[in-house]
Amino acid sequence: MPNDTPALLTILGMAFVTYLTRAGGLWLMSFVTPSPRVEAWLRQIPGAVLVAIIAPTVLASSLAETLASLVTVLVAWRTKNVLVAMIVGVAAVWILRHLL
């Protein structure tokens, strides 16, 4: 058991810094006076962060991912259903990876 101390310390350290990142955004914003410009910025974050998360996979991995992304957006737009879009998207990427 004493040999496991570095591993436990590492896990606790990881947990600590990760919680800091989760609480830090809320905490830092308490020093920012709300203004129309700040609120306009906060409203833009969800879309921009989501685009940033997916952009490398959608645009710069392979043709299968790019085409499956197009299919997913079309299905989401037509059905307004996230679950259906997810299932069709996963099926599309699975088929396209085998075909391409």
Binding site: A7, L26, G47, A48, V49, A52, A68
Partner: protein, 243 residues
């Protein structure tokens, strides 16, 4: 006219925020499809943790206390060194998870009406997927902040249980990428984005976010691309939409 509408809606958005059990249950229900994919990825984490010589208890603790998939996989890739590079792993975890700062900042208007204890407890369970679902629900008019907590706890249960099961089962688990399951998160985020699209005013900020993210993913290690793309896109949007 756009500006008047935006400020009017901003005034109403931060009022009448609730935090109820039914809100949490709604968040949980909406999250179940994604939790299935999270469970599949968590199984892989458990398998890799076992290969990296983590005990089942350590795998359980890491998934339960850190609860941030990308940084946990990166940590496993560093875990093989002897002696264990404790500081390197902790600092790398910090950098990979810096994107949470932006996500937390975007929650501030919603949490400003609620006790701080609820806000700081809820963000422990905030991951990309639960945050994205919540922002999408709020954009559609939802006003119950417990949605975020219910969604997060659902993913937490899937993530922690799958880490333990994956560790116990070992290499009998197949790679989810073989079934296209690795694409599930991208598909969900695309579908949420399709619902968030408000019109041409989103085009420029989203294009900036995409270009900066692709460039950063190419040139920089880890997850810097999310923070940089998200910052560039949101600042662009704030400047073009506030005029």
């Amino acid at each position: 006219m756009d500006k008047a509408n935006l400020t009017a809606s901003a005034d109403t958005t931060s009022k009448n925020i609730t935090f109820t059990l039914s809100g949490a249950l709604l968040g949980a229900r909406r999250t179940i499809p994604i939790a299935i994919s999270v469970f599949a990825i968590g199984l892989v984490f458990g398998v890799l943790a076992r290969q990296a010589k983590l005990s089942i208890l350590e795998s359980f603790l890491m998934s339960g206390l850190v609860f941030a998939g990308a940084s946990q996989f990166v940590a496993l890739s560093l875990w093989i060194a002897v002696p264990l590079p404790v500081i390197t792993i902790i600092l790398t975890t910090l950098v990979v998870n810096l994107r949470h700062l932006l996500m937390g900042a975007s929650l501030r208007p919603w949490f400003s009406q609620l006790p701080l204890s609820k806000a700081y407890a809820s963000v422990f369970f905030m991951v990309d997927e639960s945050w994205a679902l919540s922002m999408s629900d709020f954009a559609a008019g939802g006003r119950d902040m417990a949605f975020l907590l219910g969604s997060g706890i659902t993913l937490f249960v899937a993530w922690v249980s799958s880490a333990v099961i994956g560790h116990a089962l070992g290499s009998t688990i197949q790679d989810p990428a073989q079934w296209g399951l690795d694409f599930a998160f991208t598909a969900v985020f695309l579908a949420l984005l399709a619902g968030m699209w408000k019109g041409k005013s989103d085009l420029l900020p989203w294009a900036v976010a995409a270009i900066v993210a692709v460039a950063a993913a190419h040139w920089l290690p880890g997850k810097w691309y999310i923070l940089l793309g998200g910052l560039a896109g949101s600042v662009t949007g704030a400047m073009t939409n506030a005029q």
